[in-house]
């Protein structure tokens, strides 16, 4: 470990005596392979990046991994990392006055120029407050001092940052690669200019470009009935709308090149290559598919280079070919075949998150498991009936599904996992009970084609949460009592049939956490007070069922909203109409609001919308609005041959 001679001293000497007293101390030690340390004074702009969850979840996060490399490749920028500390460590840090620290050089987070947090989910909000507080950074943006870092949010949840607006100095929407460098350059320039205008001067520079949202430069007015009246800039030089960022030509951004390899165990022990970004399948519940448009493919050559370099620099054996719908890559057949050829006979295993219900997916999975074990395949029909699937625009017929699972079981796959959602718009008990029928047909088909009785099917159900920037942003969220009742009936329907009950696994969660996720997803600035109250009451790690407390959230919501015209139901189970100003309407994901509304009406009419990659544009608005286009192949190119490995042989 290199010595850090300049800048704020490392907190490690104060941290070290605490380490034997906490669980899994290795997660606080840093020094991961491929981690970067730099001299403090040798750089001009310093970022502390964070994924606000435990190390084991945060370290594999792609967003942070990419930005860490993109920023550190510039010699004038430093990026270090910090993650949420567990409550045992938090207590000791408070007792011994050890501030929130980075893992790379164990520097105090409060010393950096930017504290950038990536929110994949809203359930990390309380952890952000813990990190700020431990760092000695005031949790409210308006209390921050000149020397405090700019607290900046990104990630999918940042597409509606309003619930955490009071805690943020700024937020960015969309792909982070280019905007992170733009922000760095602005900070560098601002410093060179003698920090003109102080903290607000910098924020104004960032906001003026239209690519950085500074919540405090916007005022929100409310109507007497609680709805938003207007969101508008409260000073000159700040645009009315803030747009998302889209990186075009992914081949120019082949990150992560050398991801960090932790000593501690993490949730994903694989090298992940994004084979494309964006998705135009148009599933109406899917926020990721809506906000990451258009589709931009990475070429087969660059994918091949990234896989090989990733294996070499990490020593990982598992490679994941990731995207929102990996089998949709225009050259996925060639990619899987050529990679499988290249690594045949080695111990490198390739995986494809197979969620599309399509026999082609089974062919790909077969290719990637030529000699390995065929344990389980996952498909996501999402809805139990064809009617339900038309509402959500998941164009899969029951026969498609049966054909797909038949292909899987007949090729030796032992288990099929099926993902569904409960609580979808217009859903009835029948839609959910149909899942049991479907699962039984899957098992019956599997037994028939494989000639075996030991095949299994697991039904996994999540509660649907309406998300901003989707056609379902206006819908009423289903209450948890209804969700729980439907799941109970479904469980009985599966367990009650002795012929099948032992072959069908059933995994579900109770509906309450989804309600809080709904509150945080579609909330406005008034929700910030609730988040703070929950955190002050001890709320931490809300993404973990053993830490999450619905009762605490419900009680704090009631207490914070007492005397106001809005309540938990108002935020969650209330349907919005076209005219209502939504908290995120001034944030532009590129999607045309008219189109989203029409798509919502089409959903109610059970009308499907095809994918614009293969049919004419259906005018969602993203490409013209953001001056982007779909970038897809096929390119017809091939993987490049590999160079031989190191020679350790015995010299004679």
């Amino acid at each position: 470990m290199s010595m850090i001679a300049t800048g704020p001293p490392s907190v490690f000497p104060r941290l070290e005596p605490l380490l034997p007293r906490v669980s899994k101390p290795i997660q606080y030690v840093g020094g991961e392979l491929n981690s970067v340390t730099k001299e403090w004074e040798a750089v001009e702009v310093r970022w502390c990046l964070s994924y606000p969850d435990a190390y084991e979840v945060g370290l594999p996060n792609q967003g942070i991994a990419i930005l860490y490399e993109v920023l550190n490749e510039h010699d004038w920028i430093l990026a270090e990392r910090t993650y949420a500390v567990w409550p045992d460590m938090e207590a000791l840090m408070r007792e011994h006055a050890v501030p929130q620290f980075t893992l790379d050089s164990h520097r105090p987070v409060g010393e950096f120029d930017v504290f950038g947090l990536s929110f994949a989910t809203e359930l990390g909000y309380t952890n952000m407050l813990t990190a700020l507080d431990l760092a000695g950074i005031p949790i409210h943006a308006h209390d921050r001092r000149e020397h405090d870092p700019i607290v900046l949010a990104g990630g999918h949840a940042a597409f509606n940052p309003e619930p955490i607006a009071d805690f943020l100095d700024a937020a960015v929407l969309g792909d982070g690669e280019e905007i992170a460098l733009t922000i760095s350059a602005a900070i560098r320039e601002w410093k060179a200019d003698g920090r003109t205008g102080g903290r607000d001067g910098l924020l104004l520079r960032l906001a003026a470009g239209g690519g950085v949202y500074v919540p405090k430069f916007y005022d929100v007015d409310y109507l007497p009935d609680g709805r938003i009246h207007r969101v508008a800039p409260n000073r000159g030089g700040v645009p009315f709308r803030v747009s998302k960022h889209t990186v075009m030509d992914l081949d120019n951004w082949p990150y992560p090149k050398k991801p960090l390899v932790p000593l501690a165990e993490t949730v994903h022990e694989r090298y992940a290559v994004e084979i494309f970004r964006g998705c135009t399948r148009g599933c109406r519940f899917c926020q990721a598919g809506m906000i990451t448009r258009p589709v931009r493919e990475r070429s087969i050559e660059v994918i091949g280079e990234m896989v090989q370099r990733g294996i070499e620099t990490t020593g990982l054996e598992e490679v994941g070919l990731l995207s929102l719908s990996s089998s949709d890559h225009s050259e996925i057949g060639e990619i899987t075949r050529q990679l499988a050829d290249r690594y045949e006979g080695s111990n490198i295993s390739l995986s494809l998150p197979s969620t599309r219900v399509d026999a082609f997916n089974v062919d790909l999975a077969n290719e990637l498991s030529r000699n390995g074990r065929r344990s389980g395949l996952t498909f996501a029909p999402e809805g139990g009936t064809e009617r339900m699937r038309k509402v959500i625009n998941k164009m899969v017929t029951e026969d498609d599904l049966v054909r797909t699972v038949a292909a899987a079981y007949s090729h030796g796959w032992r288990q099929v996992k099926l993902y569904f959602m409960c609580g979808l718009p217009t859903e009835t008990d029948e839609d959910v009970l149909a899942i049991a029928k479907l699962a039984k047909r899957v098992i019956a088909t599997g037994r028939e084609v494989s000639g075996r009785r030991d095949i299994r099917c697991t039904v996994s159900i999540g509660g649907f949460v309406p998300k901003p920037h989707t056609p379902f942003q206006w819908t009423a969220q289903c209450d948890h009592e209804t969700v729980d009742a439907r799941l109970g009936k479904l469980r009985d329907a599966i367990r009650g049939d002795r012929q099948y009950s032992r072959a069908i696994g059933f995994r579900y969660h109770d509906g309450k956490p989804s309600v809080i996720e709904g509150l945080l997803s579609r909330g406005d600035r008034r929700v910030g007070e609730i988040i703070e109250a929950v955190w002050r009451d001890g709320g931490r790690f809300d993404g973990w069922s053993e830490h999450f407390s619905y009762e605490r959230w419900a009680a704090c919501t009631e207490q914070c909203l007492a005397g106001s015209v809005v309540d938990l139901d108002w935020y969650t189970t209330r349907e919005r109409d076209y005219a209502e100003v939504l908290p995120w309407d001034h944030l532009d994901a590129g999607l045309d609001r008219e189109w989203l509304w029409e798509d919502w009406q089409d959903a109610l009419d059970e009308v499907e919308v095809p994918d614009c990659r293969w049919t004419p544009c259906f005018e969602c608005g993203v490409c013209p609005e953001l001056d982007t286009t779909i970038q897809i192949g096929p390119t017809g190119r091939k993987l490049l041959p590999l160079t031989p490995v190191a020679d350790l042989s015995k010299t004679r």
């Binding site: 005596p17 380490l19 090729h411 030796g412 042989s649």
Partner: protein, 237 residues
Amino acid sequence: MAPTSRTQPEQHPPPVQWLRVKYAKRGRARFTSHRDFGRAFERSLRRAGVPMAYSSGFSPHPRISYGNAAPTGAASEAEYLEIGLVAMCDPDKVRDALDASLPPGLDVIEVVAATHGALADELTGSRWQVELPGLPAATLKTAVEAFLATDAVPVQRMTKTGMREFDSRTSVVKIDVENARLIVTLAHQIPLVRPDDVLAGLRSASPAFAPIDPPVVTRLAQGRLDLESGTITEPGR
């Protein structure tokens, strides 16, 4: 038709060479657990391009056999493992390649061709250094004398199967006090007594023995223990 899971998986060739690796866990890397180390080591083998032999079966894993590992939080200058290779390699080249590819703090000290006999038979004792910041030498001496004067000092430790009580005394061959540090020579017995068990024993033998900061424990040597003299001979020597 493609192979199904019922077909026999590919059989891997047996090792042609076994190498014994002596390595150290230093500084911050002492917080690496044994499982963490195993994962990191396997990745280092791949990065270094060591031609590992793999076990046969549906989930082949590299042929590595570990000697008894220092507990999480303890540093070590004398950890051992053996690796099976499918091609004859130069041990020095393997040492350099592995050392370069391991994360900082995990350092390969020596790689030699393994001698016959199981690693466990070669590792019957360890010498540990225990640093106790803030404890005066007199307190240490008193505690050590009280501890060694007894035949048995029962201590408790939380194990995977719950709280267990066992004797911390009989495994202790000797304890020297040097520069306010303890040098503890331990025989590897069942149950395996670790330095922290000895510290618990010292506390129980002498109430004044109460370290403020957590002690820093380092394994200095490991090998064949001579119970009479307390000397430890490195494996293969």
